[in-house]
């Protein structure tokens, strides 16, 4: 009893204000946060991702409790690092983007650093996806017996059209949408062929091939693209040729010829790589993944 009274007296004697206690609470929270982050870091160093994530989640709650946005962003950034280490790049990017959003909202100088990190990781993601695709393409001999393909033209058509739109010479003809204008274009093709204007001829073949493809006339489209391929091979126009190869890859698949389809995908990818056109490579990869149902 005496001890209790003495300890109570001791509390009053210290005369700590509410502000002191709040300050002490804040210090304890900061300490807790540091400890949790350090534990998570130690687990991370040992490759124990799940444990690291568990402690980061705890740290996130402390950051929320402290209402400290910078610390919240720090946890999300660290969580992104854990996913990155697990090679779950997509999820890592989601965490980095969320951290970036918070850093931006509080105008933190770390915002720029995070922006750069996101850009680096996006490049990394792209490179890994390309490597995966190449690996898939290398393994083609084993593929046909075990895979089942389904050509969902509607799902890939917008991407194919994006590739065509990137070709300046071909996109010129997009303003000719009607059936009657189509006859004019066919006439123009005959003239271009007669006067040996290969550039116009190839562009018109590519446009008419795309038009036929869109209308579901796959035989017609195939003939236009094969003809365009011959001309473009001579002209060494890698960008247009790559686009033609992608269409041919899809058309071969529609015809049930997987081997030729994969060859054309490979060629397209190589051509776009030669001209350092990563955007086109990505579109090819998306089309390939849609057709072959490879998990992202």
């Amino acid at each position: 009893m005496i001890i209790l009274i003495l300890s109570l007296f001791d509390i009053f004697k210290r005369e700590k204000s509410l502000e002191d206690y709040l300050e002490r609470l804040r210090e304890l929270q900061e300490e807790t946060f540091d400890i949790l982050i350090n534990i998570a870091g130690s687990y991370f160093d040992r490759g124990k991702h799940e444990d690291a994530k568990e402690y980061l989640e705890k740290a996130f709650k402390v950051a929320l409790e402290m209402d400290d946005k910078e610390l919240e962003a720090l946890v999300l950034d660290s969580m992104g690092e854990v996913y990155l280490d697990k090679r779950e790049i997509g999820t890592a990017l989601e965490y980095f983007k969320e951290a970036f959003k918070i850093y931006s909202s509080i105008k933190s100088p770390l915002r720029e650093e995070m922006k750069e990190k996101i850009s680096e990781v996006e490049k990394m993601k792209e490179a890994i996806e390309l490597a995966k695709l190449r690996e898939e393409l290398e393994e083609t001999p084993k593929v046909p017996e075990v895979r089942k393909f389904e050509v969902d033209v509607n799902s890939i058509l917008p991407k194919l059209k994006t590739l065509v739109r990137r070709l300046e010479n071909v996109s010129l003809y997009e303003s000719y949408p009607s059936e009657s204008a189509l006859e004019e274009l066919k006439e123009a093709l005959e003239i271009a062929s007669a006067i040996n204007d290969e550039l116009s001829e190839a562009s018109l073949l590519l446009f008419l091939g795309t038009y036929s493809f869109e209308k579901g006339d796959y035989e017609g489209a195939f003939n236009y693209f094969k003809h365009a391929e011959d001309i473009l091979n001579k002209r060494r126009d890698k960008k247009s040729l790559g686009t033609v190869n992608v269409f041919l890859a899809v058309l071969y698949l529609i015809r049930g010829d997987e081997k030729e389809s994969l060859e054309n995908f490979k060629t397209a990818l190589k051509l776009f790589k030669d001209i350092d056109d990563s955007e086109a490579s990505k579109i090819v990869m998306d089309i390939f993944n849609s057709l072959y149902r490879i998990k992202g």
Partner: protein, 227 residues
Amino acid sequence: MRSYDVIGFEDLLGDVTPGDLILLYGPPKVGKSIFCYQFLYSGLKGGEPCLYIAADYGSRQLEQRMMEFNWFLQPHIQNGEVYIIDLLTRLAGIKVEDSASVKFSSAQNLADLMVKVGVGTRELFRKSSKFRSVLDSLTMIFAFNPPNLVLRLMKAYKGRVSEANGIGLVVHTIGTVEPQFESSLMELADWKIFFDGENIQLESSAGERSAKYTITGEGIKYWGLER
């Protein structure tokens, strides 16, 4: 002045605008979740995609429960018009993988939940200039986290939904948390909707209105609007 006409669901919500957060509250088993399904489905029919956080049931159960009212969710999930964050299935020990439209998280992992909400709102914002978001309900989240953290989470959630021009609906069962936290939740909401099994009361800074409701095989029917 009470009118005895039947009121359409969207008319009932009439002046709720994008950026608003609605708190739907009431005792258990009075139709709060059915209101959520109706809010989701009505939005989809009007071309508004939806972010749905299922905290008290899994995404499969959500589909099944909605089917009871002839509201079929699957085509909308396939079209990417619904982005579901399922907080229960993994907690129940079922092994599941995320898909493009259904993501699995848990009520304990608030960082993961917030990131998924961020991704979901961004995805839907890209699809449509306005969308809806539902969180049904806070009960599990309160059960796993200190109430003040849940309030902070709600503030962040409101911010995410609002900046993406969405309308947020959050469900709370009264009595599952201390009264002072319930009051803070109320303060956070732009609209408060109270369900008691027979009456629905809507309250915002603009005023109040109430109506009667009945749960039918076609969802909830509202009638007898009083302003």
